[in-house]
């Protein structure tokens, strides 16, 4: 429902070059399968000129693929057509061509391994006697499922092999970082000091030390090595805007709302994390949506014990009225009506301490924003990306396909940025209440009860009525639901998802959707251009030129 799986997408004629370029610009790291496909396609063109900008773009895509999947058979096949570049992984690959080929892994096997959710199986492959390519991809699989411990064992083992070390160290360094093992990350960085991934990780480490200048120089160095990294334009722009602390002091009237149905422990975990975040004097209300697995009294006692003196209002409903109706119920409480900003949380999230500060800063930095939402992470000791900003992938008459909620599960810092988008994750989002009232944004639509799609639909309503939506990837929210190892949906649940998607599609005509799409693209693109303009003076010449090439391929974006 959400997006067409990649192979079908290609089979159906695929996206045009301009939308691939846009996807590349937005996502920073393309799905390697997509990268191989388009990189290869561009290079196969007749009369290609290695110095042409198209060849440059293609080479960048292929270099990305090789950085992520150094043993990927399809990328290796195209090595010869890729433009020469001194040093780094490419020369190593050429040097050990035969060895690498022997350890290579094909596209189908990659897809199969990455489709495995059972961690024991992945561990078996990662630690077994399979070729280096298989072992490495199994590690990516473990990372994807959030299993840090097994990843660390397997990754350290793989690092013992000299060839693997040379080729995989940059990705593995990010893996160590994601699993919280900074020492191993630093160690891995020593083996590949000049790869763009390494420079980016060094920047990330610098940011942990609040050393923005060091971070900036790492990013610029990275761009010098590999100009084809548009996400770094956003990251550089964000470096100037890291001061969020004072926003809470502005004495905004904020209400934080959440609701639960039968999830006592996750609700208390959510509350705990909410209370330990910086929320100033925001009001907090929890709606008990007719829970049957615990009594109202039990909930109140547990909430009081967790809140330790902070006022948390609990509203009990006799039955479960579903998520959209529950949100509306909270939204229409008298003190919520009066609030300047209203946040909705799911009952199973872990919040970063500065989430509200970031969001309030967003409202100031991006005027006209009606709602702002986070980067969603899977739970686990090595969290994978669960949800980022979304856009239309395909629209038609009563037809909607969204871009994937997690186009790339491995966090390489490429989504830690802000920009306007079509829709954000609804597990922790903040609304500008006054703006919503002014624009006449309708309530959450109860046809999507008990849940799913209601927040997506609400985001579409916001754009339709002239509001904007902002994605803030600095706010990293762990969403405990949808863990990689969770049971697959039942047929009844799929039917529910499909049914709701169809209900949503029927609400929008082609021209509605095209209007929304135009507005979103315009805002999103304008922000990119602002960022590019701001950081341009610092960029290495090749990077500057590359970004200009990107803009050319992406085409002109019309004002809606």
């Amino acid at each position: 429902v959400n997006s067409v799986p990649f192979p079908e997408w290609i089979a159906k004629g695929g996206p045009d070059l301009s939308s691939v370029v846009r996807t590349f610009r937005q996502q920073g790291w393309l799905d390697p399968l997509l990268g191989v496909h388009f990189g290869g396609l561009m290079l196969q063109k007749k009369n290609r000129d290695n110095r042409s900008s198209e060849a440059w773009l293609a080479a960048s895509l292929l270099q990305q693929v090789i950085a992520i999947l150094p043993f990927g058979a399809e990328a290796l096949d195209r090595l010869d057509v890729a433009p020469q570049q001194p040093g780094g992984v490419l020369s190593l690959l050429r040097e050990h061509r035969e060895e690498v080929r022997a350890a290579s892994i094909g596209r189908d096997a990659v897809r199969r391994i990455l489709g495995v959710s059972d961690q024991a199986t992945l561990e078996e492959i990662a630690l077994g006697n399979s070729g280096l390519g298989w072992r490495y991809v199994a590690l990516l699989g473990l990372w994807r499922t959030g299993e840090g411990e097994r990843f660390l064992v397997g990754a350290r083992r793989l690092m013992e092999d000299p060839l693997a070390r040379g080729l995989c160290a940059p990705m593995l360094a990010w893996g160590f970082f994601a699993a919280g093992d900074i020492d191993s990350a630093l160690h891995a960085l020593e083996h590949c000091p000049d790869s763009p991934l390494s420079w980016n990780l060094k920047a990330e480490l610098a940011l942990l030390d609040h050393d923005q200048e060091r971070a900036r120089s790492c990013y610029l160095r990275s761009l010098a090595v590999q100009p084809g990294q548009p996400h770094l334009v956003y990251r550089l722009w964000e470096l100037n805007r890291l001061h969020v602390g004072q926003c809470l002091a502005d004495n905004h009237h904020v209400q934080v709302l959440f609701y639960t149905f039968n999830k006592l422990e996750p609700t208390l975990q959510t509350l705990e994390s909410l209370l330990s975040s910086r929320t100033g004097d925001a009001g907090i209300t929890l709606l008990n949506n007719g829970s049957t697995s615990f009594s109202p009294l039990e909930l109140e006692q547990r909430v009081a014990a967790t809140a330790r003196g902070r006022e948390v209002r609990v509203v009990h409903l006799p039955v479960n009225i579903g998520a959209p109706a529950a949100r509306n119920w909270l939204w229409h409480l008298p003190e919520v009506r009066r609030a300047a900003y209203v946040a909705f949380l799911d009952d199973d999230v872990l919040l970063p301490p500065d989430w509200l500060e970031c969001y309030l800063q967003d409202m100031k930095d991006f005027p006209g924003t009606a709602v702002v939402g986070p980067l969603g992470l899977d739970p686990g000791s090595m969290p994978a990306i669960q949800y980022v900003d979304r856009y239309f992938q395909e629209i038609g008459e009563h037809k909607i396909r969204f871009t994937h909620n997690a186009p790339f599960p491995w966090d390489l810092g490429q989504f830690s940025l802000r920009r306007p988008c079509l829709s954000v994750m609804g597990c922790c989002h903040l609304f500008d209440r006054k703006l919503c009232d002014r624009l006449g944004i309708p309530d959450f639509d109860i046809r999507f009860s008990p849940s799913q799609v209601d927040d997506l639909d609400h985001d579409l309503q916001i754009w339709k009525r002239g509001g904007k939506i902002l994605y803030d990837g600095r706010v990293r929210v762990v969403h405990l639901q949808h863990a990689g190892k969770s049971a697959p949906l039942t047929r009844a649940s799929w039917g529910h998802v499909w049914g709701n998607h169809m209900k949503m599609e029927s609400k929008y005509s082609r021209s509605d959707l095209e209007d929304i799409h135009r507005k979103v693209l315009f805002e999103e693109r304008s922000h990119w251009e602002r960022c590019l303009e701001a950081v341009s003076p610092d960029l290495p010449p090749e990077a500057k030129e590359f970004m200009a090439v990107l803009s050319r391929y992406e085409g002109h974006c019309e004002s809606p």
Partner: protein
């Protein structure tokens, strides 16, 4: 309404019996027909649909069973539409017997150009249509086609049958009896039983025509002559024992249902919920106030109404209910299934022996509750009872009787029709019977049923399908669903969808979306659902069918 939905995981059959029958195998069509016959009596459109479908089977594949059903259907179609030449031709072809009537029908044919004019559906305005036909009748007094159409127009517009024109008609004597039979039938449907009785007593009754017998039986039942009615229904069943509703109706006449007023002493709660239908809700509450309710408690839930319903309900509460109605006024609209659950979760409902739900747009008769409760008492495994739902206006139209499962395949789920296609109410459905689903605008649940299936499924929010899913859940748990046709509820539902307004498309998307949810919700229970049919009531092929007309 045409709407294109794109999805790889499912596809919709367009609405209607024709597309449904085209989607299933010949064997399944026979099951489908048997199930239909277990629910309702055939009418012209439905009989044609099955006949067409069987007609598509290559004749090399015809076996005794298909042959028998073809003959059954074609004969029935001739009886239902006595002036339908094509039906008679098919019947002649299938049986090999000559049909005397055909030559008279040929003789009464209109000139081709005139014929095309009256068959043209372009004139939608019924009054205008009637005027055009009356003009034509001046010149073609013998035209049975014109007369047929005019009778139908009189019926639909509730004009006394043939008033101002029928005396001018000159049809060949052999067709006269069929014509009068039709007049009697339509008089009954208009509620003019005296005239209907006079007409059949003048000799229009055809003792070899079970449809004529059924109508005559109902005419006598309605004019107080139950014995005659019983005799006629028996004669009808002898001609065609596959008429399941006739069996139920006959049983009702032979052993009339006796309501037990003592049932009102039980703990009863009557629940209503409403969303911005001030006037209809007012009408409903006034209708309810005049009925016998014993000590039943009433709860009205207002789903964030913004049309002044609160003030109206308060006023009626004081005026007609001594302020005893409990009003729940919610700050947001939570949708129908959640509203039902909210009501069920009230202390009163939790402690009730019986919980009734009424929609906010119904009119109900004085004794509705006593009768419904008596049905529940008489049927110990009954979980819920519903009633005969009529559309508002005259003549009386059936809006919803009862449904079960027409097709339950792993890739296709179809619920049976809610009424026959020709849905005027002759009274033949005035009986009590078990089924699989009754209309949710007026139904009563037992405590045991609600204990077993406590909630309506909010995935069907804001409305549609939640009551059907609840009934099927009850069936799967072994409860009986009872239909009580002895209570008539007029339902002022919004008329059907318009054409292609965006609001209609959104509503349709909602219906279709809920259909998808519905299918997958029951995907694991298709075997159980498949048993909710009438196959045990109707034999695999019709027996000893009379072919001669």
């Amino acid at each position: 309404v045409n709407i294109t939905m794109h999805h790889p995981s499912f596809r919709f059959l367009s609405a209607g019996l024709f597309s449904e029958l085209n989607a299933i195998s010949t064997d399944e069509v026979i099951h489908h027909l048997r199930n239909f016959l277990g629910n309702f009596l055939l009418d012209g459109v439905i009989a044609s649909a099955y006949l067409n479908r069987f007609g598509q089977v290559p004749s090399t594949e015809w076996n005794d069973q298909i042959n028998a059903w073809l003959r059954y259907l074609s004969r029935k179609l001739v009886l239902l539409q006595p002036f339908n030449e094509q039906a008679r031709q098919i019947n002649v072809k299938l049986t090999g017997f000559a049909d005397e009537h055909l030559k008279y029908l040929y003789r009464c044919r209109l000139p081709q150009n005139i014929r095309e004019k009256i068959l043209s559906p372009r004139v939608n305005d019924q009054q205008r249509r009637r005027r055009i036909f009356l003009d034509l009748l001046q010149n073609y007094t013998y035209s049975i086609e014109l007369i047929d159409q005019l009778l139908l127009l009189d019926l639909e517009q509730d004009i006394p049958m043939g008033s101002g024109w029928i005396d001018k008609c000159r049809v060949p004597p052999p067709l006269q009896r069929s014509l009068e039979g039709l007049v009697a039938r339509y008089c009954l449907l208009q509620g003019d039983c005296e005239r209907a009785r006079m007409t059949i007593e003048k000799g229009s009754l055809d003792e070899h025509d079970e449809i004529s017998l059924n109508h005559a039986a109902e005419i006598y039942a309605r004019t107080g002559d139950t014995d005659r009615a019983i005799a006629l229904y028996r004669a009808s069943l002898a001609l065609d024992p596959l008429q399941v509703p006739v069996s139920f109706r006959l049983a009702e006449l032979e052993h009339p249902f006796t309501p037990d007023p003592g049932m009102l002493e039980k703990r009863i709660v009557i629940c209503l919920y409403s969303y911005n239908k001030n006037e209809l809700l007012q009408q409903t509450l006034r209708s309810l106030a005049t009925t016998e309710r014993g000590n039943a408690q009433i709860i009205v839930l207002l789903n964030n109404c913004t049309d002044g319903s609160q003030v109206m309900v308060d006023a009626i509460n004081r005026e007609m209910y001594d302020g005893l109605v409990e009003v729940i006024d919610l700050p947001v609209n939570i949708g129908a299934p959640a509203a039902r659950n909210w009501l069920l979760a009230t202390e009163k409902a939790r402690n009730a022996d019986y919980v009734a739900f009424l929609d906010d747009d119904v009119e109900i008769p004085r004794d509705w509750l006593i009768k419904m409760l008596t049905v529940l008492r008489n049927n110990p495994r009954a979980g819920v009872v519903g009633v005969k739902i009529l559309a508002p206006g005259k003549p009386r139209h059936l809006q919803y009787l009862y449904r079960n499962i027409a097709v339950a395949r792993k890739d296709l789920l179809r619920i049976s029709l809610d009424t026959p296609n020709f849905n005027y109410d002759s009274g033949v459905y005035d009986f009590v019977r078990p089924t699989a689903n009754v209309m949710g605008c007026c139904h009563v649940f037992t405590r045991a049923a609600l204990d077993e299936v406590p909630w309506f499924d909010i995935r069907f929010s804001p409305t549609q399908m939640d009551d059907i899913a609840h009934d099927f859940d009850l069936c799967l748990k072994g409860f009986k669903i009872m239909y009580c046709g002895l209570v008539e509820c007029v339902h002022h539902q919004m008329s059907g969808m318009g054409r292609n307004t965006s609001a209609d498309l959104i509503r349709l998307g909602n219906v279709l979306g809920n259909d998808v949810k519905f299918f997958y919700r029951f995907a694991q229970d298709l075997d159980g659902l498949g048993k909710l049919s009438n196959l045990s009531l109707v034999p695999e092929q019709p027996i000893s069918q009379q072919d001669v007309l």
